[in-house]
């Protein structure tokens, strides 16, 4: 009986969360649709959320590209297919690693920051103050963050793609003696413009997830400083789970299970 009660409670909470998140998303997109945008604040958020995440995205992408190349290049050479390493690294980077890795890193850094900032504003009554001034928190706070991530996450993914491929190329040359020309030729033969744009489309969706989940977690903060901690952790966990789920769904839709 207790297990059933718990199941019922969890189900209700899940639907309440999903409903609240969807409502916030709808309200925010409604303001964007009506062009009710605070431009200066959006530019500031682009800097805070995007530019300040660049270094960590570059570092994680560089080393991931290097590891991928390290593990695949020597074996590929042994099997006589060293000329495919560049394509493999680029294919993985552009379709998956670039968008996914930058999204996960940004979810950890930025999703948490958004939830903490908005959560602190809830417990210091700043959100109520905005409402009492006749200002919708969705327009005032969520719209700039959402737009900033929609713009900046794809840009970060491009940097991640490039750095990951460059790192992979350097390792392939150093450890498996695959020269740069051969590596780059393989890259050019394997990936096309479509692969890049589809990867960037994924980044846009991931950006929406991070901004909305971070904002929603922050705005539903209850119970003082401890509540801010809960909101922050929740923002990271929920964002990352949703990024992985949506990545599978998007890959299925965009690539249709094909390999090419």
């Amino acid at each position: 009986m207790k297990a059933l009660e718990d199941l019922g409670k969890s189900t209700t909470e899940f639907f309440e969360y999903a409903g609240g998140l969807t409502e916030l998303g709808g309200e925010t997109l409604g303001f964007i649709g009506k062009l009710r945008i605070r431009l200066t604040e959006t530019v500031l958020q682009c800097y805070l959320l995007g530019v300040q995440s660049l270094l960590i995205v570059l570092l994680t992408s560089l080393f991931t590209g290097m590891v991928f190349s390290l593990e695949s290049a020597q074996q590929a050479v042994q099997y006589g297919v060293g000329n495919l390493v560049g394509g493999a690294v680029a294919y993985t980077s552009v379709r998956e690693l670039g968008p996914m890795l930058s999204a996960v890193v940004v979810a950890g850094r930025v999703g948490a920051a958004i939830a903490a900032e908005l959560g602190s504003m809830v417990i210091t009554e700043q959100i109520e103050a905005l409402q009492s001034l006749g200002l919708a928190p969705a327009r005032f706070l969520v719209v700039p963050r959402l737009l900033a991530l929609i713009v900046m996450l794809p840009l970060l993914a491009i940097f991640a793609d490039v750095v990951s491929i460059v790192g992979g190329m350097w390792i392939a040359q150093t450890y498996a003696h695959i020269n740069y020309e051969s590596f780059l030729s393989s890259v050019r033969q394997t990936i096309g413009f479509d692969d890049v744009t589809r990867g960037l489309f994924k980044s846009v969706i991931f950006g929406i997830i991070i901004a909305l989940v971070g904002s929603y977690q922050g705005l539903r903060t209850r119970g003082g400083a401890a509540g801010v901690g809960v909101a922050t952790t929740g923002a990271v966990v929920v964002s990352i789970i949703l990024i992985f789920i949506s990545n599978f769904v998007l890959s299925y839709i965009l690539y249709g299970g094909s390999t090419g």
Partner: protein, 251 residues
Amino acid sequence: MTETIAKVDNVTLRYGDKIVLEDCSLDVVKGAITCVIGLSGAGKSTILRLLNGLRKPERGHVYVKGVDICHMPERELINFRSAIGFAFQFAALLDSMTVVENVALPLREHTRMSEEEIERTAKATLDSVGLDGAYGLFPSELSGGMLKRAGFARAVVTNPDIVLYDEPTTGLDPIITNLLTDTIKHLRAKLNGTAVVISHDLHSIYMMADYLAMLYEGAIVEYGPLQDVQRSSNPIVQQFLQGSEVGPIPV
């Protein structure tokens, strides 16, 4: 002849299982300062939040300028709230903005004034609460009394019909308390408007209140002109006003 500008009408509201207000009614007289007193956690601040639609009652109605705001859609309510000033207990200034930017915010969002006019109005409002030297400071750089005054300035900058003050003098020294009390009276007179003040501070209430209401166990148990309530024979009111440990209010 007194005219009511806002009315809490038989409102019941609970937080979770706890009943905060039960069949609670309060009239806010136009052009007067109405103070609400009561024990800590009695639901006084909830009354303010009902009056600007930040909380919705479970039962009953809240009328402001004759309009029932309980069933007003959030979008309409957001516009409606710009006619009601709210000075929060801890000011709740946006900490990413300077004092003058905080005060200018409602003008920037709700009026078609030029930037120059907005800045002039915001600074004049800050001057009127004695914060002429604090334009460019951030909230974290202000003392408690300055924060409260900056909150007052933001609440009144759009010349609202009603200003709601939540514990305006709590936790401040007597000199600043007197200064803030005078500021509330001065602002009400200047705006020719209405104020509702939630407070525990009987000294400042006696200085400014035209009407006094006492909230106890979720309902208004006494309400009327200040002197009438002070002379009330209600033992709950008398125990509270005298700060006595003996009486019907359990300690």
